[in-house]
C-alpha cells in the first residue's frame, strides 16, 4: 500500500508542473498589457517601461516562466490590486472558507447520496426507488445557482428561517450557530447536484453487483437481505462510487465559485469572481493554480481510497 501511495504520488509531479505552466501561459494569453492594468492608461511611457523591467516582462518567455516558478516556490503569487494585498494572502485567508463549504458539501453529498442510493437499491422498482429517480432527475437538470436562488427565495425571504448571505468570517468569531445557519443554504446548493449523481451511481453499482455469484453464495447461507446489500454489495460497489465522488469533488470546486457568488460566501470563488470582473490577473492566476492543485490532490486521495476498497489493487 505504501509503495502504491509513493508511486501514485510521483505521478503527480509532472501534472503539477503542467498546471504551473498553464497558469503562467494564461497570463500571456489574456489580452492587455499588465503595465496598463497596474498603472492605468494615463501613466507615462517611462513609468511603464520601468514597471516592465521590474516585472521582468522584457525578458524571453522561458526566463519569465523561471521567474514565475521561483516566486511560486517562495509562496509569492504576485500582488492583487483589487484587494491591495499579496495574492497568497488573499487566497490563504479565503482557502479556509472555501474548504469548509466544499468539505461540508461533499460530506453531505456522499453520505446522503450513498444512503439514498442504497435505500433505493434495497427495493428496486419500488415506489421509493422511482421517487428517488425523479428527485435525481430534478436535481440533475437544475443549475446550481438557480437552486441557490430558489432556496434563498423560500428559506431566506419567504420563511425567513436562514440567513441568505453576509457571512463575514467563517472562523467562528460569531459563534458556531451562526456559522451553521450561514452554511446551510450554500452547502445544500453546492451538494445537490453531486448528491443526485452519487445516489444514482450507488444505486446502479449495487444493482450491478447484486446478481453476482458471491451474493448468491451469501444468500444461500441465510444472510439477511439488509446485510447482503450493506455488507456484500455496497463494499463491492464502493470503487465505482468513490470514483464518482472524486469526480464530484472536482465539479464541486468549480461549483463553489458560483455558489459563493450567489450567497456572498467569503471564499476563493467569490474572490475570483471579483478578480475576473476587474481583470486582476495575478489573482485569477493564483486562484486557478490553487483550485487546480487542489483538484490533483483530491484525485490522489481518491485513488488511495479506491485502492483501499479494492484489495486487488492494494496488493498488486
Amino acid at each position: 500500500m505504501l509503495s502504491f501511495i509513493f508511486n501514485r504520488g510521483l505521478q503527480i509531479v509532472p501534472v503539477i508542473i503542467g498546471v504551473t505552466l498553464a497558469t503562467f501561459l494564461l497570463a500571456q494569453i489574456i489580452p492587455g498589457d499588465p503595465a496598463d492594468v497596474l498603472l492605468g492608461s494615463m501613466a507615462s511611457e517611462e513609468a511603464r517601461q520601468q514597471l516592465r523591467v521590474a516585472l521582468g516582462l522584457n525578458e524571453p518567455i522561458y526566463v519569465q516562466y523561471a521567474i514565475y516558478l521561483k516566486n511560486l516556490l517562495q509562496g509569492d503569487l504576485g500582488q492583487s490590486f483589487t484587494f491591495a494585498q499579496p495574492v497568497t494572502q488573499v487566497i490563504v485567508e479565503r482557502l479556509f472558507n472555501t474548504s469548509l463549504l466544499a468539505v461540508a458539501a461533499i460530506l453531505l453529498a456522499s453520505v446522503a447520496g450513498v444512503a439514498a442510493g442504497t435505500w433505493a437499491a434495497l427495493r428496486p422498482g419500488s415506489v421509493r426507488d422511482q421517487g428517488l429517480s425523479v428527485i435525481v432527475l430534478f436535481f440533475n437538470s437544475m443549475p446550481s445557482f438557480w437552486l441557490g436562488l430558489v432556496l434563498i427565495l423560500i428559506f431566506g425571504l419567504h420563511l425567513r428561517l436562514l440567513p441568505i448571505g453576509g457571512m463575514q468570517d467563517a472562523t467562528g468569531s460569531s459563534g458556531i450557530g451562526s456559522l451553521v445557519a450561514h452554511m446551510a443554504l450554500p452547502t445544500i446548493t453546492l451538494a445537490a447536484w453531486s448528491l443526485a449523481v452519487i445516489a444514482r451511481m450507488t444505486r446502479s453499482s449495487i444493482l450491478d453487483v447484486i446478481n453476482s455469484d458471491y451474493i448468491r453464495t451469501a444468500r444461500s447461507r441465510g444472510v439477511s437481505e439488509v446485510r447482503i446489500v450493506l455488507c456484500h454489495a455496497l463494499p463491492n460497489a464502493m470503487p465505482s462510487v468513490i470514483t464518482v465522488i472524486g469526480m464530484q469533488m472536482g465539479f464541486l470546486l468549480s461549483g463553489a465559485v458560483l455558489t459563493e457568488t450567489v450567497f456572498s460566501w467569503p471564499g476563493i470563488g467569490l474572490a475570483m469572481y471579483q478578480a475576473i470582473s476587474t481583470r486582476d490577473i495575478p489573482l485569477i492566476q493564483g486562484g486557478i493554480l490553487v483550485l487546480a492543485v487542489a483538484f490533483v490532490l483530491i484525485n490522489f486521495a481518491v485513488d488511495i481510497l479506491y485502492a483501499y476498497f479494492n484489495p486487488k489493487i492494494k496488493l498488486g
Partner: protein
C-alpha cells in the same frame, strides 16, 4: 472422472426423503414472453444419500436447485409443484422464512468457484458471517470453527488463510473454502452444482473425493450436479438424467451405467472421457445442440438428435413411467434398449 468403483448402495431410511421435489416447474418472464425452463421435475433424496443430476449445459440443472432454495434470480418463478423438506413445503415461503433453511438445512456450493466468493471480504470474515450473526457464536468461537473447517477441507495453514482474500487463493483452494462454508452449519442436504468445472483434472478428483468423504462423515444427503456422467460414477447412489428441463431417466447408478434405457443417457455414456485414455477427449460428443427453452421442441425434446426417433416422438410428449415395473423410470416412447437392459440386470429389479 472416477469411473471404476461405485459406492455401495445405502439403506434407504424408513421415514421418507429428506428433500423431495414434486412436479416442480420454473419459468422466466410473464404472459406471451414466458419461457418454461424446468418442467414437472420430481426428485427425491434420502437422508445421507448421494443423488447425481446429469445433463448437458442449459438443461435446467441449476435452475431446479436454485428454485428449491428459493434463490431464483429476478424474473424467475416457480410455476408449479412442491419442494418438500422433511415433508414441509418450502414453495411460497417468504425470504425471511427461507433464511433459516438456507445453509442450515440445505446448503449450496454454487457453480463457479472463482466468482462465488466475495472478492472484497477475507475468507474468514465471509465464512464466519452466518455463525456470528445467525448462529449466536462469539467472534473467537467462530474463528476457531472456521479454522477447523478449513483444516477439514484440507487447506494448509488454515488459521493464516482466514485473513486471505479470495484472489490470493488458487482455484482448488477457493473451491475447498466454498465447501467449508457450505458445510459450516451441518446441513442435512448439500447441493454441489458442478463443483469441479474450471478445475484441472487432478484437482477435480481431489475435490470430488473430499465432497464424498465429507458427506459420509457428516451424514449429509448430497445432490451432485454435473454434465459429466463420469463424475457421478464414483460418488452417486442414484442418478437422474435431465434433458430440456425434464427428467428423462432415473436409476441406481450401477443400473444406469450397465443398462441405460433412454437414448440420451446412452449417448451421454458414450461421450464420457475415460481417465485411462491418454487423450482426455470426448469419445462421441452427441451431435446437435440441446433445444433453447425459448423455442421448445414438440413431442419428445430429444427427437431432433435421436437416432431412434419415430413419428410419435415428434407429436407426443412421452411420459415418465413411475418405475413400479421391473425396470427403472424412463421417458421414451420407443425404449430401444429394452431387451438388452433386461438381459443386463437379469430382469430382477
Amino acid at each position: 472422472m472416477i469411473l471404476a468403483q461405485s459406492s455401495p448402495l445405502r439403506p434407504i431410511s424408513a421415514n421418507g426423503p429428506v428433500l423431495e421435489l414434486k412436479n416442480l416447474g420454473v419459468a422466466y418472464g410473464r404472459g406471451a414472453a414466458s419461457v418454461q425452463v424446468v418442467h414437472d421435475v420430481s426428485l427425491a433424496v434420502e437422508r445421507g444419500e448421494a443423488l447425481g443430476i446429469v445433463g448437458e449445459s442449459g438443461c435446467g440443472k441449476s435452475q431446479t436447485m436454485l428454485a428449491a432454495l428459493g434463490l431464483l434470480p429476478r424474473g424467475g418463478r416457480i410455476t408449479s409443484g412442491q419442494v418438500l423438506l422433511e415433508g414441509q413445503d418450502l414453495v411460497g415461503r417468504s425470504p425471511r422464512q427461507m433464511r433459516p433453511v438456507r445453509g442450515r438445512e440445505i446448503a449450496l456450493i454454487s457453480q463457479d468457484a472463482l466468482t462465488s466468493l466475495n472478492p472484497a471480504m477475507t475468507i474468514g470474515k465471509q465464512m464466519a458471517e452466518p455463525m456470528i450473526h445467525y448462529g449466536g457464536m462469539s467472534r473467537s468461537a467462530a474463528r476457531q470453527r472456521c479454522t477447523e473447517l478449513l483444516d477439514l477441507v484440507g487447506i494448509p495453514g488454515a488459521a493464516a488463510r482466514l485473513a486471505s482474500y479470495p484472489h490470493e487463493l488458487s482455484g482448488g483452494m477457493r473451491q475447498r473454502a466454498l465447501i467449508a462454508m457450505a458445510i459450516s452449519a451441518n446441513p442435512k442436504v448439500l447441493i454441489a452444482d458442478e463443483p469441479t468445472t474450471a478445475l484441472d483434472v487432478t484437482t477435480q478428483s481431489q475435490i470430488l473425493r473430499l465432497i464424498d468423504s465429507l458427506r459420509k462423515e457428516l451424514g449429509m444427503a448430497l445432490i451432485l450436479i454435473t454434465h459429466d456422467l463420469g463424475v457421478v460414477a464414483g460418488v452417486a447412489d442414484r442418478v437422474a438424467v435431465l434433458y430440456a428441463g425434464r427428467v428423462v431417466e432415473t436409476a441406481e447408478t450401477e443400473t444406469l451405467f450397465a443398462a441405460p434405457r433412454h437414448p440420451y443417457t446412452k449417448a451421454l455414456l458414450d461421450s464420457i472421457a475415460r481417465i485411462e485414455d491418454d487423450v482426455a477427449e470426448r469419445l462421441n460428443p452427441i451431435p446437435g445442440l440441446p433445444p433453447d427453452p425459448r423455442n421448445p421442441v414438440s413431442g419428445c425434446a430429444f427427437h431432433p438428435r435421436c437416432e431412434y426417433s419415430r413419428e410419435i416422438c415428434r407429436n407426443a410428449l412421452p411420459i415418465l413411467e413411475d418405475g413400479t415395473g421391473a425396470q427403472h423410470p424412463v421417458r421414451c416412447h420407443v425404449d430401444p434398449f429394452v431387451s438388452s437392459s433386461l438381459r443386463a440386470v437379469g430382469g430382477a429389479r
